[in-house]
C-alpha cells in the first residue's frame, strides 16, 4: 500500500531523483574530519530554531533586553535550556566552522575545481563570526556593552574612513538603542539569510563536484 502510494506520488513529484543525487552520491573513503561541514550545518539549524524560540520573549530595547532575558532564564519553563543551547551552540558553531576550514585547507580540498566552494566557505566563516559579534550585544549586560564598545571602536582606527565605519556600526557616535536594534536586525535577518543562501551554493557545489579524496603521498 505505502509503496504504491509512494510510487504514485513520485511519478508526479520526482523526488527520488533529488534524493539519489543528494544522499546516494558516491563518496571516496574518508575520515571523521569530513563530518565537520555537516556538523556546522546541524549547528546552524539548531541556532535558527532556538533563536526563533528566544525571539518569542526577547525584546531588543535597552529598557527591556536585560529583563526579558532574566525572565527567559528564571520565569519561562525550559527557558534556560533554549538559551543555553543557543549560547553554547554559537561558540561551538564558530569552532566547528573554523576546524572545517582547517581540514579543507590541510587536505588541499580548495584546489581545482573546488575554488568556489572555498570562496563561499570564506563568506560563511565571516558571516558566522558576524553572528557571534552581533549576538553578543543582545543580553545588554556589562560584558555585552563593553565588548561592543570595543568591537565597534576597532574599525575606528582605520585611517580616514574608520570613524565613519564606527558610527555606521553604532548607528550614531555612541552605543544606544539604535545600536541594539540594528544589531538585532542583522543578527536575526540579514546574516541568517546570507548564511542560508550561501550554504545553498556551498552544498550545490559539494553535490555537483563530489567531495575530494584524502590526498596521498604522491599528491
Amino acid at each position: 500500500m505505502t509503496s504504491k502510494f509512494v510510487t504514485w506520488l513520485d511519478e508526479r513529484l520526482g523526488l527520488q531523483g533529488i534524493y539519489d543525487t543528494v544522499f546516494d552520491r558516491k563518496v571516496p573513503k574518508v575520515n571523521w574530519w569530513f563530518t565537520l561541514g555537516s556538523a556546522s550545518l546541524f549547528l546552524f539549524v539548531m541556532q535558527v530554531v532556538t533563536g526563533i524560540f528566544l525571539s518569542v520573549y526577547y525584546v531588543p530595547s535597552p529598557d527591556h533586553a536585560y529583563d526579558s532575558i532574566q525572565y527567559i532564564m528564571n520565569g519561562v519553563t525550559f527557558g534556560w535550556l533554549i538559551r543555553g543551547i543557543h549560547h553554547w551552540g554559537a561558540t561551538l558553531m564558530v569552532i566547528f566552522v573554523f576546524i572545517h576550514m582547517l581540514r579543507t585547507f590541510y587536505y588541499a580540498a580548495y584546489k581545482f575545481p573546488r575554488e568556489l566552494t572555498w570562496v563561499t566557505g570564506v563568506v560563511l566563516l565571516l558571516a558566522t563570526l558576524g553572528m557571534g559579534f552581533t549576538g553578543y550585544l543582545l543580553p545588554w549586560n556589562q560584558k555585552a556593552y563593553w565588548a561592543t564598545t570595543v568591537g565597534t571602536e576597532i574599525p575606528g582606527t582605520i585611517p580616514v574612513i574608520g570613524p565613519f565605519i564606527t558610527s555606521i556600526l553604532r548607528g550614531g557616535s555612541e552605543l544606544s538603542a539604535v545600536t541594539l536594534a540594528r544589531f538585532y536586525s542583522v543578527h536575526i535577518w540579514f546574516l541568517p539569510l546570507v548564511i542560508l543562501l550561501v550554504i545553498g551554493i556551498h552544498m550545490y557545489l559539494i553535490i555537483r563536484l563530489g567531495i575530494s579524496n584524502i590526498p596521498g603521498k604522491d599528491d
Binding site: 524560540f53 518569542v56 520573549y57 527591556h64 529583563d67 526579558s68 532574566q70 525572565y71 520565569g75 519561562v76 519553563t77 525550559f78 527557558g79 535550556l81 533554549i82
Partner: protein, 161 residues
Amino acid sequence: MAESAEVSRRDFVTVVVGAVGAVIGLCVGIPAVAYLVSPALKVQKGEDWVSCGPLENYPIGVPTLFTFTRTQVNGWERTTISYGVYILRGEGEQILALNNMCTHLSCRVSWKEDAQDYVCPCHDGHFSIDGKVVSGPPPRPLDPYQTKVENGELFIFLQEG
C-alpha cells in the same frame, strides 16, 4: 510474513530507529511546547476588598462610574490594569455595583442618560439599569460585584485571574 521466530535485522533496525526517534522527539518536543505555553500556566489569582470611597459621594438613582487600577507582574514587567465599576445607589443601604466590562467580548460599556441604558460601543449591546441584556449580542447580564459598607465607606469585592 516471515515464518521464522527470529526477528529480521531489517525489522529490528526499523523498531529501534522508531523508538529512538520517538524518545528524541519527546526530549525536543516537550521543552519546546512547555516553553511556549509557560506564561499561560502562570495566571495570577487574587481577591481583595477595594474601597470606592464614601458612600455619600454617589447620587441616588443614577449609575456613577468609579475607576481604579491594579498592577500585576507579567513576564518582566509590571502591567497596570484599569477597572471600572458602575455604582447605583438605591434607597437606604441598597447598592448595585456592576462591572463595566461587556459580557460579549469585553469592551467597556457606558451609561447613557438619554437612552437610560448601558451601551457597548463595540457591537451595540444594550443593558438595562440593573444590568439585564436589552438587545444586541451579549449573552448574559453585566457582572455584579459583592459590596459592603463600613463606617460610611463603600467597598467592592474584586476577584482577579
